[in-house]
Amino acid sequence: MDFTTFLIQCLNALQYGLLLFLVASGLTLIFGIMGVINLAHGSFYMIGAYMAYALAPVVGSTFGGGFFATLAVGLVLAVLLGYVLEWVFFSFLYERDHLQQVLMTYGLILVFEELRSLMVGDDVHGVQAPDFLAGTLPLGDLMTYPIYRLFISGVCLVLALAMYFVFTRTRLGMMIRAGSTNREMVQSLGIDIKFLYRVVFAAGVAIAVFAGMIAAPVSSVYPGMGNTVLIICFVVVVIGGIGSIRGALLAALLIGVVDTFGKVLLPQASGVLVYVLMALILLWKPDGLFKAG
């Protein structure tokens, strides 16, 4: 591998890592703060991607279109969806064993996937990136790099910073962090924990849907796409340390590097490398890279 190729591969790794973070970050919220092992996270991602595909024409005819208008409409719908889901399906589960929540989210996966099939069908679809982001940049004389991918990376960084800021610097973030460590204490401080959880869940769903919408032009839209990202999201969150934004970002980048260079240097073992990485990290640091707190 010559030096230019190496640099490009590093860029690939970085970019893939950021994309992973984008997809996994909604899970950090729900998983880390509410302690809900949300198997339906992949479904929310899938819903987002399908929204990007199915909403675009609708939004186009109502609001005159535009990628960002679709994004905005999708986000509003996602928040509503998350809010209602938490209300109907999760609000009565916190007192129970965590595994009951797992069962619930498993049921939701099946339902969402089938609703998708009934409403949109089983075909593969593409989503157009907005025109002004559709170009490419040259990378040396070897190849070009799509601007949209750089845009995604930018969005990821902004999102990471925003989440970090909300978590550490705002009153809401403080309440959230307190709530994740001690439900009773927050309740005794007069904060409406039910409402807080509903907000967090809605935010988690919204981020997952947002990720799906943003990633749709790159990943395309196809049945079963949610399942393929689910496990890698858990890997990211767990390696990073549950509930830690910094950790998730670092873990996502680490996986980006391992996956990218694994494919190139150790193609026979590239599938297994990510899991070896996770096992090693957790055996070395049983609470992930950054313990939340």
């Binding site: 595994l99 069962l103 049921g107 099946l110 339902v111 767990v238 073992a269 599938g271 957790l282 055996l283």
Partner: protein, 334 residues
């Protein structure tokens, strides 16, 4: 209450023993499959329900048992059940020993994910190497025999053998859970810190439970391979680990019966919603019905299907018993 549970289990096994006389060939096949899943579910119940260790990689042990069955079977002639079965169980248990020894250093969700990681490693080894036929899987050419006594090629004989294994595993686990070892596991589930303070080194206990569980899962894998004569990497995939976990949660954690009921309920629900006779064209959307039923179960049955009689009784006795029920539902993992 104790006798009623005992009677339920005995009645269930008697019914299973009578089943081949009542059902057609397919019915026998179906129940054979479910019984294998029930054995698999019991293996996980020992970890999740009885010890409080949520393992998300149980399919690895199942798959290793299944693959070992195929790979150890010689090209020419049928192997003897007497060495093949123990060999498969031992191999699965051996992998469980390695996985357990490492993953038990972690706790909670991290434990869940480490067990997943080890299962995925096994998955990719089978999936990406020619060792086990790669993605297309590999066939079992001749089924194991026990002299002339037992011909596992005959569905009825295989049914009987599977039922015997199920009863054996159930009986073994029942004894195990009442023994000192089992009580210690129960203590670990409720409060491991206290167990250590009392003088139990909990790590060897948990590891032993892990190995036993892996071995039983290996037995289920062995049966599966013999039944289908075909194994495939999907047997090790996380979907399968997830499904068996869903079975035992659905059935009700903390009870061996729960694993039995869960395995049957999960499989039969699928059969039901897939049935064209009932749903016609809509049967192809069977995931929807299954998903909604699971959601309904979570909403209405806090203790899983195993808790249904208790809930009904409480309903009959009136309100006051209800609150006690809720407390009991919370307590095991409190």
């Amino acid at each position: 209450m104790k006798t009623s549970k005992f009677l339920f289990v005995v009645a269930a096994f008697l019914l299973l023993a009578q089943w081949p006389l009542m059902a057609g060939q397919y019915g026998v096949d179906l129940v054979t499959k479910i019984m294998i899943f029930a054995i698999f579910a019991l293996s996980l119940e020992l970890l999740v329900g009885s010890t409080g260790l949520v393992c998300f990689g149980q399919a690895a042990f199942f798959g290793i048992g299944a693959y070992a069955t195929v790979l150890l079977t010689p090209q020419d002639g049928s192997p003897s059940l007497l060495w093949l079965l123990p060999a498969c169980v031992l191999l699965a248990a051996l992998y469980a020993l390695v996985v357990g020894a490492l993953s038990l250093r972690t706790k909670g969700v991290y434990f869940i994910m480490v067990t997943l990681a080890f299962a995925q490693m096994a998955y990719y080894v089978v999936h990406d190497t020619p060792l086990g036929g790669g993605t297309d899987g590999i066939y079992l050419m001749s089924k194991p025999v026990l002299g002339t006594l037992l011909d596992l090629d005959k569905p009825q004989a295989f049914y009987g053998f599977t039922l015997a294994c199920l009863v054996g595993v159930f009986g073994f686990l029942t004894l195990l859970l009442r023994s000192r070892f089992g009580r210690a596991l129960a203590g670990i589930r409720v409060n491991e810190q206290r167990m250590r303070a009392t003088g139990f080194s909990t790590y060897p206990y948990k590891l032993a439970a892990f190995v036993i569980s892996g071995g039983i899962a290996g037995l289920a894998g062995f049966l599966f391979a013999v039944k289908d004569g075909f194994v495939n990497p999907e047997l090790i995939s996380w979907h399968f680990s997830g499904e068996v976990l869903i079975m035992i949660i659905l059935g009700g954690l903390g009870h061996l019966r729960g694993a039995l009921i869960g395995a049957f309920a999960f499989a039969l629900l699928q059969e039901f919603f897939k049935s064209e006779a009932i749903f016609g064209e809509f049967a192809k959307h069977w995931h929807l019905g299954l998903g909604l039923s699971i959601i309904a179960c979570v909403a209405l049955l806090p203790r899983g299907l195993v808790g249904v009689p208790g809930q009904l009784a409480a309903r009959l006795r009136g309100r006051e018993a209800g609150s006690h029920d809720a407390a009991a539902a919370k307590a095991p993992h409190g």
